[in-house]
Symmetry: C2
Subunit: 298 residues, 2 copies
């Protein structure tokens, strides 16, 4: 199969997820064209998932594809943005139609679940990697940012942490899509907290997603907001089967971390108070300063 | 240097190209946020440039960075869109600050030249590659597309073709940024024909950029428009120092290929009539059917 045949295979597998709704022109031209709702900012991010770094090379392609889309969409959730469409740049080391079809099936499932379109992309030959740019909308006045936390705010996190790291540590990532257990599901099937991010507009003083690991991400939030963040390990919602260390440092959870001056509205998912914002800088865990130990690429 | 230090280096090198104008929120948060002009479609594409495939691994990083941005922006030009901002996903095999700074300098130069902002991105460790998503705007009524050519239209191309392929064939790509000759400049410093694409709104019946090679791209245009395209090799504007084969099959030119029912307006660059659109299918070169021989990844 040459790249054009691979693209045809991907498009036929993606089916209705490549067009419709706001997509005036989907894949097949030099660029996609999309109708934009008025009165909003365009919110955009680009993320990369490399084989052997961000996912195991031998994982099921359906799971890799699902996760790639959801992980990338999580950045929109962190801004309180809706999700409109994504573009996918795919590099493959071989033209393996079954693998590519599996990947596209997983992306299709994630796109349907998140309500986004896959409006364009490209395929080249190289080390296996998936780069996804994600696009959505948010009103400027209530855009969620990492900056904005104030002394006196409370720190919250959605869901439970550490499950993905526990799955990785337990070597449970070579599963078939139909055989996910609760831990491997946490790794491969994160849910971008898009509805929760939108619900937090006007309520959260700052927000981001937990991708690098809670402590490292708290460090980013405290730097951006120029505050101290103090959390209590006893309050951390640890995913069943995960350790407190995995919940604090594991990453890959894609839950929302946010601060608010008042209790947040009902989000439809578990929301846990894990600490508070103080004047100062850095992160305190059980009153002691911490140095984050999340994943570093270099 | 870890990835956060590398990101700081990139951002300080990019300087004023990461924010301002429509960019409400540039790099540093989970996503960028951008003001969108009303009454337009958002036009978006994603492109990939892999070391050893799309550019020589030992090329000067300034040139790689410049070319990566311009090549990607060319897809917006092909749609008749303006260019607003780009996102860059970068994978590096080592944290080499000098190389990364050079790459960012080249991207900065291209961004200033094209009038776009580099609103976000990310860095991971992997095989060297640059993935760029590009975003701009165009009114729906005059969006340029590959579909739309009609029998009787004339086929045009901007600029001259084959120079980039001639540079590649002549092994002239290991040059320093200050020592470009006309051929290597054609390879490393293409100009996205953005102003020309905008000027063709309402005039061109179909358009695309010449990236894979003229004959292969004519094949895409004829398929999308469901027409036959007949060109005359004697009319092709061959870049000085290039062969007719390089002009026909070489790719990497990033000129605009378009059809129009009437002579186009003055574009400020050379525009050459190279053939005509007929009823039927496929591409004729000097009256003989051709099979495209552009670059295939697989």
């Amino acid at each position: 199969m040459n790249e054009f045949e691979l693209i045809d295979l991907v498009l036929s597998t993606l089916g209705e997820t490549v067009t419709g709704d706001a997509i005036v022109l989907g894949p097949g031209d030099d660029a996609a064209a999309v109708q934009v709702p008025s009165g909003n900012l365009l919110v955009s991010s680009i993320d990369s998932l490399l084989s052997g770094v961000h996912f195991p090379a031998d994982a099921a392609p359906e799971l890799i594809g699902y996760r790639a889309l959801m992980v990338s969409l999580s950045d929109l959730a962190a801004m309180g943005a809706t999700a409109s469409h994504v573009l996918v740049s795919l590099t493959l080391d071989a033209a393996d139609p079954e693998w590519v079809r599996g990947l596209a099936l997983g992306m299709r499932e994630a796109a349907l679940s998140a309500g986004v379109k896959i409006a364009g992309g490209n395929i080249s030959r190289g080390s296996v990697a998936i780069h996804v740019s994600v696009h959505g909308y948010a009103p400027q006045a209530t855009l969620l940012r990492r900056a904005g936390a104030s002394a006196g705010d409370t720190v919250y996190v959605t869901g439970m942490l550490g499950g993905a790291a526990a799955a990785l540590a337990a070597g449970r990532l070579d599963v078939a899509p139909a055989q996910l257990d609760p831990l491997s599901e946490r790794y491969f099937k994160p849910t971008a907290r898009l509805a929760e991010g939108v619900a937090l507009r006007g309520h959260a003083s700052s927000a981001m997603d937990v991708s690098d690991g809670l402590l490292q991400d708290l460090g980013h939030l405290s730097s951006a907001s120029q505050v101290m963040i103090s959390i209590d390990s006893a309050l951390i919602p640890v995913f069943p089967g995960a350790s407190i260390d995995q919940a604090l440092n594991g990453g890959d959870d894609y839950e929302l971390l946010f601060t608010a001056a008042a209790p947040p509205p009902e989000l439809g998912v578990r929301v846990t108070r894990i600490g508070e914002v103080r004047a100062g800088s850095g992160v305190l865990l059980d009153k002691a300063p911490v140095t984050a130990s999340g994943y570093l690429h270099f």
